[in-house]
Amino acid sequence: MGAEEFVNNNSKSRGFHEMEEDGFDNFTDSELVYHVRDALNSVSSGDNESYNQLVGVMYHTDRLAPDEVALLVTSLKALSGAVSYIDNAIHETLLSSIFRINMWNYGPDVMDALLELIISLAASNGKHVELCLEMLVSNFTPPYSFMGILKQPRGIARKDQVLSRVHSALKHIADLVPLAPSKLSTIVSQKIPIYAKEPLVVIYMENMLKLESGAIGEFLRSTMLMALMDTLIDLDVDIGWDDILQDDSSKGIFQMEIEDVDEIADYDEEDGTEEVLLQFPRELSRKTLGGNSTAEKLDSLMVVTFEHLKSCEASGRLIEVFEPLLDSFRITVLTAYKSKFSQFVMFYACALDPENCGVRFAVLLADIFVCEEYPLPFRMSAISYLASYLSRANFLSAPLVASMLKRLVDWCFEYCKTKGGEMNPTSHRLFYSGCQAIMYVLCFRMKSMIDVAWFKPHLLLIEPILKHKLSPLKVCLPSIVDEFCRQAEAALLFTSSEEFNFNYLLESEHSRAFGGMERLDMFFPFDPCLLRKSDSLQEMHSILRPPFPLSSPISSPISPHPNIGFIRPHFVYWSMVRPPYDDDEGISDEDVVEQELDLDVSKMSITPRDPLSYWISNGLEEPRGMPARIRPSTSPESL
């Protein structure tokens, strides 16, 4: 095949439609290709007739009859053979007509012909690569008209046809143009339809994760995961704290947490009162959150992420996904200072692999805290995450928590010796946040820390730290100090020489001072996750309490969620904690039901270990007790 054959070809004179009338069967593939080349070449000499006919075929998209489909397929195939003749300036109309074809509207034969053309285009000329990649990325999501049937079997089948082909086309292009993946990652990150409707964003995200785990994953992994976290954070910060926050500083941190919202909602309805759930400074009302479409979007995206993480873990890839995830957490989430939900992605990843990922996360946070090169708010944010993480993650072993606490205690002790001075909330912010972190973790884990034998000397160091001139007990959050002192006294660890009379204040002016503008004194990032699907136990409820109406005001028609509670099985609620001063609490009937609930949780959940064993055992080989339903503020005046 050489140039001469082309010149001698006598199909030059025929129009496209004439050929069509004769029936394409009469022409060989090469004749068709020559005709197309001819049409393309004549544009520059002014003869646009065949060219325009060709463009017309590409534009004719609605409700194609079978012969029209055949025409489209044949034209696409002929074009594939003529790609080197396509110029991106002269044949701009043709190119734009090709690129606007949406594969979701067609059957597999059109898809295949189109993709062959796209791949050939991309390989033939560097100028086309970016446009071809953009076209493929825009096929990640269905057109608006398709949205209605997305959930139906035919929609699902079509989705599978399109996406499998798109991803294999991307792989082919990467094989032929080795630098394409870097262009692709830029294009994919830029085109995230973050403000589109929820189903579209979710499909797009699924595609991003499919790229990450696919054949060209190694080139795209870190950018895809980074873009994922960025998207989550963008949605996260859009959900305003202020809209929903009820600033009631008289409530304590350790009061009853919203873990059984549905029950409370039910209770409300029975009462017929409009009493909204107990509001807590850092906990958002589910009622108001439910209607928030951004929250719903974020929730769905997090579920997609969780499911992806779970499948990564199942295929043994969690570690290679975890590192980029950790990087993007450090760069994006940690610096966002008041991220509400996105951090639970890390929580879940750690829960899937406590020994590696769980430890790695804790160590990273501790490293950031002690590293002098990082800016102050960054380090304080890290310690808030660490404290909340160590308290709330039920999959962390006591020795690990103890070793983290050891680092903190050592650091604080060193600080007292070298930089100690008079009490000054603003100058010693880091120190106060470190002390508060230690106290907070011990509030949750007092018993298990006492049981770790080698930790005892460090536990004893806490007293001199807290009684130092810097007076952390006066500066840290009063409710935490209060709870800690009570637990520490009951555990015979520490007796505070002064009487602290906080009047059950949550915060004080000192704590505000050390917390600074970002209020990092009151930042507990792993407080109960209030996004419904990520956290929920809805299926659990329907199994164990059949007549339960699930009357949570935010509930849309609840379809059985395929995955049972992502976060909840790994999470420590305050009610699960047995502080040392509550040893004599009895077991009520209520708790029997509660325990059944929890036992079934551990049977059904993916957590391999018994989530409660770290809390209950006190070393005396007591039969595993029921998690007593404690009202932590046991003094009568509390709410």
């Binding site: 095949m1 050489g2 140039a3 001469e4 082309f6 090469s30 290709v33 053979g81 003529a82 790609v83 080197s84 050939s120 390989a123 033939s124 000329n125 560097g126 100028k127 690569v129 970016e130 094989d175 032929l176 143009v177 080795p178 630098l179 262009k183 090169e373």
Partner: protein, 227 residues
């Protein structure tokens, strides 16, 4: 293979003050951002670098951000294909109308059928697509073959080469190496070509790739080329 060169460069890298304790790392990072991109300064795509910091003392830039200027002496491996150079690459895809090649693992090249000389004929043999020579039965190009081709043009942005198999000394490397001797002798006689217009006389250094590692001295060849 032509198009590769090693250049010495005196570079200045501006480092942010926060990296003053990790200068080596900062310089590496900065130089890495040059990789696999065409640089006008160096007139080529930077493939690899090696550097030495000249001075422990660096000048601090006046201004808002006090970056400091680290002077380096660097050796850069550059890829700068120009028209009419001969390159080698591996065939990754063959169609009736084109051959797709990848050069040095990162640069994609395409040879369209009008730039493939008459000698080669597309056929499908045992299910594999290939271009076989009509005059030399053993000269075959298929997926996986390493071929030598002539550069027609080079797109600096996407590092995409448009190539040609028209000159007689292009084709499968393995075959060319074996037949280089006899090949270069017959080369002198003008080959039959369709409408060839114009000739180009170029200086060429031919390398043989067989184990003997003989390097031919430069020869002047007449190579017919379609303009």
């Amino acid at each position: 293979m032509e198009g590769l060169k090693v250049s010495d460069a005196n570079l200045v890298v501006y480092v942010h003050p926060s990296k003053s304790t990790k200068v080596q790392q900062a310089v590496l990072r900065e130089l890495s951002s040059l990789l696999f991109k065409f640089s006008e300064n160096f007139d080529g795509v930077v493939l690899a670098y090696d550097f030495q910091i000249q001075d422990k003392i660096a000048k601090i830039l006046p201004g808002f951000h006090p970056y400091f200027a680290v002077r380096l002496k660097a050796k850069l491996l550059l890829f700068a294909p120009k028209p009419n150079m001969l390159l080698e690459g591996k065939v990754v895809k063959l169609t009736q109308t084109s051959i797709h090649v990848i050069v040095l693992g990162f640069s994609s090249a395409i040879i369209s059928d009008e730039d493939i000389r008459e000698e080669f004929n597309y056929k499908i043999k045992h299910g594999d697509e290939q271009f076989g020579s009509r005059s030399h039965k053993r000269h075959v190009i298929k997926v996986g073959t390493v071929i030598r081709f002539l550069v027609k043009s080079f797109d600096e942005e996407i590092l995409h080469i448009s190539g040609s198999l028209v000159p007689a000394n292009t084709g499968s490397i393995r075959w060319l190496a074996r037949h280089l001797e006899e090949f270069s002798l017959t080369e002198r006689s003008p080959r039959k070509r369709g409408e060839s217009e114009g000739e180009l006389v170029i200086q060429e250094q031919a390398y043989s790739l067989n184990n003997d590692n003989r390097i031919k001295k430069s020869k002047k060849h007449r190579i017919s080329e379609e303009s």
